[in-house]
Structure formats: structure tokens, C-alpha cells
Amino acid sequence: MNTNRRHALKTGGALSLLSLVAAAGWLKPGDAAAADAWNKSAFETHSLDETMKALGGTSPVPSNDIVFFSTPDIAENGAVVPVGITSKVPQTESIAILIEKNPNMLAAVFDIPPGTDPSLTTRIKMAQTSNVYALVKANGKYYATSKEIKVTLGGCGG
């Protein structure tokens, strides 16, 4: 963990500052986020606090306006865990998925430009049973909700 922080400090300066602000396209929604550099530091974090720092944000406010859908409580296989997230927070700019007990916490950040529904599904890997956070940035503020997903090992399938 220490080495990560040192790495972040060492690579400081203008470039890093920009990438922190731009953090995974958390700049302006739809503002050519794909052109931004991949936010390496954010994808190497191990706690919610660290992730929030790397994303350039503050502690998220718990919100009931963020809802998991098509997301089962139990995953038969951790390699493919379906996750669906809808945000009813007005002016949602992006949706991120964080997995508490994965080796690195942040799994994905999706920028939601105006005109795109703040709702999506994807599939993530989970190393073990864990809380999964849906983190939403809306109007410059952060909101989150979480859900525990249990991961089982299966049999031989069929």
C-alpha cells in the first residue's frame, strides 16, 4: 500500500494532477473521456477512501436513489458476476463499480453524458464474497449504495 502511495507522489506534478482531476473521465460528462489517460492510480486502490481520493472526490453520501437491478445476491461463479445499476440521482455524470474485497477495489467507471440513461449492466469478477459499491457522481457530488454478493464455487456444471 505504501509503495502505491509513493508511486502516486512520485509521479505527481502537472500530469498527475490533471489525471486526478480527469480521473477516469470525471471531468465533464461526455467530454471525450476516452481521450483521457487511463487513471492508473484509481485502479490500484484498496479502500473506499483511497479510491475516492484517487478519483478526486470526497466521501460519498449513502443514497437510496441508486439501485442495483439484475444483480443476484449469490453468484454461482465469481468470474462472471452480472451487475446492473440505475441512478435516479439528478444530473448523474458517471457510475462506478467498486468491489471491497477484490485485490484492487475499482472495477469500472462509466461516464454518462446527457442524453444517456444513467442505467447500465455489465459483468465483473469477484475474488470472494464481498460488498459491491455503486458509486455515482452527480452535479459534482458523490453518492453510493452497496450490496453484498455472495460468491460460491460450483460443481461440475451440466
Binding site: 443476484p72 449492466t121 460443481g155 451440466g158
Partner: protein, 272 residues
């Protein structure tokens, strides 16, 4: 130290989980797993194999530069629509009952001029470094039978013999564990951990199982064919390795495909 803490946490979580499963075992667990499977249905990576197989089907291949459009899967050269639902079948040109994979290999060798060793290279793929043409081709051909009822010609004498042989093998106990296919797949309600095992001696069990292979296995990130399924069952029974395309593999396939007759083919599916 860190490892120990991690292990302790993992063990704690596992114990808590085991307890919660134990308490909840039954409907709610089964319901949640059903939900998991349902959520996977939308967007099956098997489609990526189907697309690659379709591409491969149309391209001239092998030393003879012949495409699969000359390959007769039983309904005429190049006809894929509905072909999988009638396999295995007897092919007079090969004088053999063949399943899909065996027939594809036959076309590669006899028509495209490939060596058998080349045709059988990478029967089961492993990532982008070792991709299997056969798995992609099988995915494509099978996908072209979606919604078509299984109709294996059990009244054809050669197929009938294979079916009977497959039935015998299904119940034959052997190996270091004195196992048969029927040990796991002969009764209702059997499972390995949380995985329900289909009862293949019942028509609905055989239908549901057979019509969903080939399948994308999320645990492997690969598309697997029925030859693979049987091969892995043999491994799990500690039997000698089932040779790809052997009569033994085709007999078992004929038995299970034949028992699935009447059900609409529903693959390639997605499984855990």
C-alpha cells in the same frame, strides 16, 4: 502476517457464508442462483464463437482450399440449418455414425486436405493463445438449429446400435472410484456443492442437458462442446481419457441426443 490475517478473514467469511447457506439452503438460495443464471442469459459470449465459426465456415481452408460449404452434415453440402438437431447420424461416405465434431474433422481431412493431426489440434481451446477452430465451428453450426426439435434417427440401424452401446456405457461402472455416468446422473435431486446434476435417465433431464450444449462456460471463459462435456465427465470419474471422436464418445452422444428427441434445441447456452 498479512497472509495470515487474510486467511483468517477468508476463513471467517467462508464460515459465515457456509452458515448462511446452511440456514438458507432450499428455496431462497435456489431462487438466487436461478436469478444469477437468468441475468447471464442476456449477452452470451458464445455469440463471439458463433461469429468466428460462421466466418470460418465460408473461407477456403487447408491444402485443397475448400470451404465447409462442401461439407455435408447430413442435410446436403453446406447446409447447416437444422443439421445439429439430427446429429449424430450415419454417414455412408464415412461408413460411420458421427457427431458434429467428428464430421467437421472428417470434412477437414477428406475435403480440405488437412492431416488428421492438424484437424485435431486444439480440440479444446485455451484462451487467445490456443484457440479452437472446432469449438467455433461447432458453436456456429449448433446455433443454426435454435428452436428446431431434436430428431436423431434412432430407427436407423447404425444409429440404433450406437444408442444401445451408449446406454450400456452410461450405466457401466468402472475406474478407481467404481463410477458410472448413472452414479451422478441417474437420480433426481443430486448435486455437487450447489450445482444441481441433471437426471439424464429422465427424458426432461436429458432434453434440458443435451439441448443446451455447446455452452459458454463462465468458469473457463470458453465455449465448450458436447465432446468436451463427456471428456470432462470421464476425467471426473477417473476413467481413462475419452478419445476425441472415438466410437465410445459418439455412442454416449447418440444415447443422450436420442433421449433428447422432441425437445427444441436451445443452445449454445451459457453455464456457470
Amino acid at each position: 502476517m498479512r497472509t495470515m490475517i487474510r486467511l483468517a478473514v477468508a476463513a471467517g467469511a467462508a464460515a459465515a457464508f457456509a452458515a448462511s447457506i446452511g440456514a438458507a439452503l432450499g428455496e431462497s438460495t435456489a431462487d438466487e442462483i436461478a436469478k444469477y443464471r437468468e441475468a447471464l442469459q442476456d449477452g452470451n459470449p458464445a455469440e463471439l464463437w458463433e461469429a468466428r465459426g460462421e466466418q470460418m465456415w465460408k473461407v477456403p481452408r487447408g491444402p485443397n482450399k475448400v470451404s465447409f460449404e462442401r461439407c455435408d452434415l447430413g442435410l446436403g453440402p453446406g447446409v447447416v440449418k437444422g443439421a445439429y438437431a439430427q446429429l449424430p447420424r450415419y454417414f455412408p461416405d464415412a461408413k460411420r455414425v458421427m457427431d458434429l465434431e467428428t464430421r467437421l474433422v472428417w470434412c477437414m481431412v477428406q475435403q480440405q486436405g488437412m492431416s488428421e493431426a492438424d484437424a485435431l489440434k486444439n480440440t479444446f481451446g485455451n484462451g487467445s493463445a490456443k484457440r479452437s477452430d472446432l469449438e467455433a465451428l461447432a458453436a456456429y453450426v449448433a446455433s443454426q438449429s435454435q428452436g428446431i426439435r431434436m430428431n436423431v434417427a434412432l430407427d436407423e440401424p447404425h444409429v440404433h446400435d450406437m444408442y444401445r452401446l451408449g446406454e450400456k456405457m452410461f450405466y457401466y461402472r468402472g475406474g478407481t472410484h467404481d463410477f458410472a455416468c448413472a452414479t451422478c446422473h441417474g437420480d433426481d435431486g443430486k448435486r455437487i456443492r450447489l450445482q444441481d446434476l441433471p437426471n439424464l435417465t429422465k427424458v426432461e433431464g436429458a432434453q434440458k442437458a443435451y439441448t443446451t450444449w455447446p455452452a459458454y462456460r463462465v468458469s473457463q471463459g470458453e465455449l465448450r462442446t458436447f465432446q468436451w462435456r463427456l471428456n470432462d465427465c470421464f476425467r471426473q470419474q477417473r476413467f481413462p481419457e475419452l478419445a476425441f471422436g472415438s466410437d465410445a464418445s459418439i455412442a454416449l452422444t447418440a444415447y443422450l441426443a436420442g433421449r433428447a428427441n422432441g425437445a427444441a434445441y436451445a443452445g449454445p447456452a451459457i453455464k456457470r
